[in-house]
Amino acid sequence: MATSSLPRAPLIKSATTYAVRRGLFEAGQILLGLVILVWVLLPIYHMVMLSLTPINEAFGGRFWPDNPTLENFHTVFTQNHFFLERFWLQLANSVVVALATMALVLVVATLASFAIGRLKMPGGHVISNLALLTYLIPMAFLAIPFYRIMAQYGILNTRTALVLAMSTFAIPYAIWVLRQYSENVPFELDEAAKVDGASPWQILWLVYVPLLRPALIAIGTYALLLAWNEYLYAFLLLSTANQHTIPLTMGYFLVTDDSPWPLLMATAIIYALPPAALYYAVRRYMVTGLTAGATKA
């Protein structure tokens, strides 16, 4: 393309130069691609490699274990280690907390965004901006008072407390995304339904929710992953092992210096697979949801 604007005379030379430059450009592209690949995959490769290493060989600093084994996964699944005594229970806790957060966020945010955006609420604008404000509070900054408040409410050391904490931070974002997304849903649909005698409740279910499905999938996944991944709030709010979620299971490996790192990495892989798979399954929606409106900034 670029050659078309070059003078005609040194045609052969320019063609050669063009080929050389093209080749260099290609090489650069591929090289950059390889660098990105190594950058992305190295820590993940390391995790997999270590999980396949026998526990007593973890101190080798090797690139690949001499005797790779699946023994670590077996140990995790059979809860056959002090740190993993309650693995299945704690995995179930993680699942319950993540699903409950997702459900709460979807219900509360859908209702609120519908009320603000579609029913002309007095003060809806204020609520919308307050939600945005919450979205901008760093989670870690609110942790200390939040901990005390949960104690006041008497729900410290319950999974409910963690669900509430995660919802507090996920709902504002959810409302914001839904508000952005619903701007593209024409009001005429609401009007038509109203003329046909539909109640707000029916419009919510028959117009709003079906048309916002992609955004709902995105924020549902976002809430699910936020809760599944949380460490700090789980650490503060859940004190007994029976309430712990998997991030805490992993965190407790670090209380001693000679932890069985291969077991920790096996646990980590089991824990990381479902959210990563989910993320890739709904990637299409995530990109739409996460970038909803962002490009207009």
Partner: protein, 295 residues
């Protein structure tokens, strides 16, 4: 052009007629109530309580007399200045690379999302062991391939903090690349076509087409990322735990240390509150930038 725009204007000018239900407001109030209740109980009350907790002058006195606090405040500044800008600048460059429509680059951009898709605890722990200076893979490889004694990654405070920034960038780069990629995709292609006809070089295209179109998004992303990075607890706590010798703390982790390891709740809250003079203006700017787009 003018003709085609005119009808659009006319429609805009006439306010849309709204059919109202008699109880529309009542429905609205009912629908918004769950959120308002949660907001009051889980945001307003904790924030107010936090201000009350952090209102004691003695807490601030303790804080400012603590050399660890001063060091952590400086760390936070470095973390934000380096971490955020490095991350966004790389994201800006990579978004251009990944915007190419070749099949293998598309595959690469799918893989590139992995650090963002995989939960942070497993990968940060993986880094932690990989960087172990005696038994980790990185120094093992340095020794086997080059015969070099690797550095004390997480033992030397400077290197440890550098590692923290690296892990932070590693984890959040895909997200911001994705955002900037979406921004690039939204730039009308005829602008590039026009630039090509005018004989613009790739650099000129970036400077005079891409950057002006992307500038706003880049600035918003930088501000947003600054706020989130201020609250990044995991990258620091799970990699170094604030160590060695409490030298790699940032405000977010130090606040937790005061409150829960040293049982000085008021000092912990005060520690976090010292970020407010910096945080509040950022939030105000962002609310105006982001909130303006939703009526």
């Amino acid at each position: 052009m003018a003709v085609s725009v005119a009808p659009g204007r006319a429609v805009e000018a006439a306010p849309p007629r709204r059919v109202r239900w008699s109880g529309e407001t009542a429905w609205g109030v009912a629908f918004v109530t769950p959120y308002v209740v949660l907001f009051a109980a889980l945001v307003v009350w904790p924030v107010a309580y936090g201000f009350w907790l952090g209102a004691s002058p003695s807490a601030f006195a303790t804080l400012f007399a603590d050399p660890i606090y001063l060091e952590s405040a400086w760390n936070t500044v470095v973390f934000l200045a380096l971490g955020v800008n490095l991350k966004l600048f790389l994201a800006l460059l990579l978004s251009g690379y990944l915007a190419q429509s070749r099949p293998w680059i598309r595959w690469l951009s799918v893989l590139f999302l992995l650090p963002w898709a995989v939960p942070s605890i497993p990968t940060i722990f993986s880094f932690r062991w990989m960087l172990n200076s005696e038994w980790g893979m990185l120094n093992g490889l340095l020794w086997e391939l080059f015969g070099i004694e690797g550095p004390w990654w997480l033992v030397d405070p400077q290197l440890a903090f550098g590692s923290v920034i690296f892990v932070h960038v590693w984890k959040y780069l895909p997200f911001w690349t994705l955002i900037l990629l979406a921004g690039r995709m939204a730039i009308p292609t005829d602008l590039y076509e026009a630039a090509t006809i005018d004989g613009a070089s790739p650099l000129q295209k970036f400077l005079f087409v891409t950057w002006p179109q992307l500038k706003n998004l880049y600035v918003t992303s930088t501000l947003l990322s600054t706020i989130w990075s201020l609250g990044d607890f995991n990258s620091v706590y799970l990699l170094t735990g604030g160590g060695p010798a409490e030298k790699t703390h940032v405000l977010a982790t130090l606040g937790i240390r005061y409150a829960f390891n040293l049982h000085q709740i008021d000092v912990g809250v005060a520690c976090v509150m010292t970020a407010l003079p910096f945080l509040v203006p950022l939030v105000v700017i962002l609310i105006r930038r982001l909130g303006g787009r939703v009526q």
